[in-house]
Symmetry: C2
Subunit: 279 residues, 2 copies
């Protein structure tokens, strides 16, 4: 019986959620690094952005989304949203009997472990940088580290325009990164879920002496360790013909589909809109 | 008694509201064109953006804000937000005993009246363009007009960065406007409250044959006609020493103050944060 339960758990999907489309970069890393795992993704496109909302609101939203994801029998949950990771993870973790991780802890941990000169840069949206969420986690691991934050508000719309390799984006990126490079950082956290799509451009500008930390990738790696620890890592390849990835949104499925299809290695056909307020 | 009431009404302020900071361009036009009028501005910075929200939600928000503005004894209300103008104006107008106007009708009306070749361009946020709100109003005035819409999602963050006269902004603007210019438009509506700040740049790119329609300016002019019609236009200069403009926001007053101080001709000191959900 126990064996049967475990087998069912292994085949169950991972729940991934974000305030919008950005968390798809985290889903993509899970697809790449854990190809046996199924995913149920929820993007809260009706209530985006989370960055300007209060802790109470974000906690309420996160609980609603987790209730929805559990109707899909997920075996673990990944919070692919910086704001919800910072404001809701600790609280909802206490309420859950399945593993849950958030995107900022993994990134902060790897940056703290990898910096040699103790100078870490973080780029993100205005609200992420203003909140000091990465700063706090990194300095909790090593108070000797100085964290230099820089808000890059043009990066999200540039990514959403699809101008990933574009002279405009390059000029903007050089301007944003210059002050961090002038500080002599040796590690740079891509602290917004959209930014991994600018990874190669940012890497070229930052140069080989700056290690780029991609929280989306680090989260996928931490998820793998966590699933293994709980004995629910799926070691069996997915059966063919069975759609392994499901996508749900709270509004405007078209824009979501367009963006998803531009970054995922296959076409999303099955995005469904749900009323998240009902959960 | 009637005369006394009228005198009090004339000195009462105009209520102006928007989902955030953008509506300040409308407030600015009222300050310029109606220098005797006092203004109470409300920016719903906690619940921005409105573009992705449902009609019911926008109506509920608009009613809350109007209730708040009325506690300041406003004599008229200007909806300086494209989304709220499109979704809530007709409904709240029926419920009010003071004049109310919205930013999109004035712009649409002037564009419909001014186009000669019946080709009008509209630029705005993705949600404004996608909703077809200008399109609908313009073609209601003259069905022979063809409206060409173009979403310019980078303009708002470029304006908020303060990069108003910048090679990056110029390159982006040329790229956005080219397809409208290729269609041969002779009028172009700046269909987002941030865009008047890019007016001179857009004018240079569009050239002298394209008439720029600034809904912020047209709204201020329509407000003047409306106040005169109701006999509540203030013809007396404001007494010195009495702060004529008040600013309220629902969140993050700092960012609001920074932006306001960058576009208004004087420093805003008195921005207050209120809990709009209580109204």
């Amino acid at each position: 019986m126990a064996e049967q339960t475990e087998r069912r758990d292994c085949a169950a999907p991972i729940g991934v959620f974000d305030s919008g489309v950005g968390g798809l970069t985290v889903a993509r890393e899970i697809m790449r690094n854990l190809p046996n795992e199924r995913i149920v993704y929820f993007g809260d496109t009706a209530r985006v952005p989370y960055g300007s909302k209060s802790r109470e609101t974000i906690l309420r939203y996160s609980r609603q989304i987790i209730r929805f994801l559990r109707t899909e029998q997920v075996k673990a949950i990944v919070i692919a949203c910086n704001t919800a990771s910072a404001l809701a993870l600790d609280e909802v973790e206490k309420e859950l009997d399945i593993p849950i991780i958030g995107v900022i802890k993994s990134g902060a941990h790897v940056a703290a472990a990898s910096t040699v000169n103790k100078k870490v840069g973080v780029i993100g949206t205005e609200s992420t940088i203003h909140s000091g969420m990465y700063d706090q986690l990194i300095r909790a691991e090593d108070p000797k580290i100085t964290v230099y934050g820089k808000a890059c508000p043009l990066f999200v719309p540039l990514v959403e325009e699809g101008w990933l390799k574009d002279p405009v984006t390059e000029t903007v990126a050089r301007r944003y990164l210059q002050e961090l490079l002038d500080e002599g950082i040796d590690s740079l956290i891509l602290g917004c879920t959209h930014y991994p799509l600018l990874r190669s451009l940012i890497g070229e500008i930052a140069g080989p002496d700056v290690r780029l930390v991609n929280p989306a990738y680090e989260t996928a790696r931490e998820l793998e360790r966590l699933l293994a620890k709980h004995g629910i890592l799926n070691t069996q390849a997915k059966p063919p013909g069975n759609e392994p990835y499901k996508f749900y949104v709270s509004d405007a499925a078209d824009k979501f589909k367009r963006f998803a299809n531009s970054i995922l290695p296959y076409d999303i056909e099955t995005t469904q809109k749900i009323n998240i307020e009902e959960y």
